[in-house]
């Protein structure tokens, strides 16, 4: 079955959430004390459950304390899941157990959309599997698109919310690519019905490390497909710019954000990502300052008012993909 287009005007629009903060346990004091600085929380749900691995029964156990914290302190703000465990690009199997766990997560934490990484991290290793712990790039070719399409259709059908994939950071590349980044992301979104989570810091990393022209990429990309953006800070190491999520954004990411924001009519939110251990050196004021700067840009470039979002009632159909703007 070909999935429906998420930009179908017959369906509900993406809500304008505004500026989000990616949850980390170390950010709890900030979330409790400075909740006026963000409009929603994004969370990697995998850190709030334990996966005991294939064959274990039960396979997953929720971190009740962590999930309860989110419920208490989100204070009515949406909690948007950004998962790492699906490994949607893995060739040897599709991780349906993870998809089932994501369904359960969304029952407890209804969200306007859900996202994952356009990559793989699970591979076979002899008779077992290995977890690389990094997002491994996929070849930008027709075979990759064909392998992803049925999986994305299944994810969208089972989760019942718009499903986004995040452009990957890559430090090495494969020769003979059939498409450049923009062509690949556009084809992926148009053919499979997924939205895009445009990580601007990943774009910046690929600019520095692989010679990608970030502005040209944004101009070539169909930005109507972008539902969420990520921004973050990084660090130089051995001649590479790393997606370390280690504090304030570099100027180049601010410039990409300023360029992209007015061109994304279906954008729901911009999320600031930071590894928890960087919170102390960065400090609450600096973090609040980053979020305030993002909000200023958001209001300058996104004319639609930031609105509240309410989960659909349980009895209503949950599918609520994008509506084409204009």
């Amino acid at each position: 079955m070909r999935p429906t287009d998420p930009l179908d005007p017959a369906t509900a629009p993406i809500p304008k959430l505004g500026v989000g903060l990616a949850y980390q346990p170390a950010l709890r004091p900030f979330i409790e004390e400075r909740r006026e600085t963000f409009d929603y929380l994004e969370v990697v749900p995998d850190i709030l459950w334990t996966d005991f691995g294939r064959g274990c029964e039960p396979r997953y156990r929720d971190d009740e304390e962590g999930q309860s914290f989110l419920e208490r302190h989100a204070a009515g703000r949406p909690i948007v899941p950004h998962s790492i465990g699906l490994s949607i690009g893995t060739a040897h199997r599709f991780n349906r157990d993870h998809l089932g766990q994501m369904e359960r997560w969304l029952e407890r934490f209804p969200a306007p959309w859900a996202s994952e990484h356009l990559a793989y991290n699970l591979a076979e290793h002899g008779a077992d599997e290995l977890q690389a712990g990094v997002t491994i790039p996929l070849p930008r070719d027709r075979a990759t698109l064909d392998s992803l399409a049925p999986r994305i259709a299944e994810v969208r059908e089972r989760l019942g919310v718009p499903f986004l994939l995040e452009n990957n950071v890559y430090f090495f590349d494969y020769p003979d690519a059939e498409m450049d980044d923009a062509e690949f992301l556009d084809a992926l979104s148009a053919e499979t019905g997924c939205g895009l989570l445009l990580d601007l810091h990943n774009v910046h990393c690929n600019c520095v490390n692989r010679g990608v022209d970030g502005r040209r990429l944004l101009d070539a990309l169909d930005l109507e497909r972008v539902v969420e953006m990520h921004v973050a800070g990084g660090v130089e190491h051995q001649g590479f710019w790393l997606d370390a999520h280690c504090g304030p954004m570099p100027d180049e990411v601010w410039e990409l954000l300023d360029h992209a924001l007015p061109r994304c009519p279906n954008l729901g939110g911009v999320t600031f990502e930071m590894i928890g251990s960087w919170y102390e050196p960065m400090g609450a004021e600096r973090l609040a300052g980053e979020l305030a700067g993002m909000r200023e840009l958001w209001h300058r470039h996104q004319p639609a008012p930031v609105g509240s979002w309410e989960a659909p009632a349980a009895a209503e159909p949950a599918a609520a993909p994008l509506r084409r703007a204009g």
Binding site: T50, D51, D63, A91, H92, A123, E129, R210, Q238, F240
Partner: protein, 203 residues
Amino acid sequence: MTATAFQNAVARLIVDEPFRRRVRAEGETALPGRALTAAEHRRLLAAAADPGMEITATLHRGFRLSKLLGRLPLTFELLDPAVSRRELDAFWAERPPKSFYYIEEAIAFSDYLARHAERLAIPYLAEVVAFERAGLELQRARPDGSPPPPQRVAFEHDPTPLIEAIATGRVPESLPRRPCELVGRRVGGDTEWTLTERPLPGA
């Protein structure tokens, strides 16, 4: 199946340094020949030679190391960097990364160090490893949700000054013997430790 073989080889290039070196040195002969197309061979050889592969491997290793450092901070204070690297290489060579949930790996590394404590001959290592392992066991989620059983750790030296010193980056030159046992229990969301004296042998 070639996509699977290709992905497996890329992942192995990232996590397996000897394999990476072999592919760079020997080229196609180091790759699983029959399972890959000519184009996949070309892509793998280019990826292996790409300087970005080395930084990806560094990120993988750094991520994995950070997860162990965060769970075994006292243990790593006792291991100088060269020893850490050598022992992690040996441990990781027999244990590919399996999960994002590194508490299991930290417990396995504790067990590895306990098995090799005599060879390593590092003062206090066996006691400190046992103590941190017990703390991890008390934090580990269990599939049935049951509370963890109490953890008993035998010490030959007074654990309070020992742990306090190591936690501040100092390894005591000498501590008087004080055979005792720490018993850890999970109470609410916290770990509580109780100290019990053990009589000195012959006392």
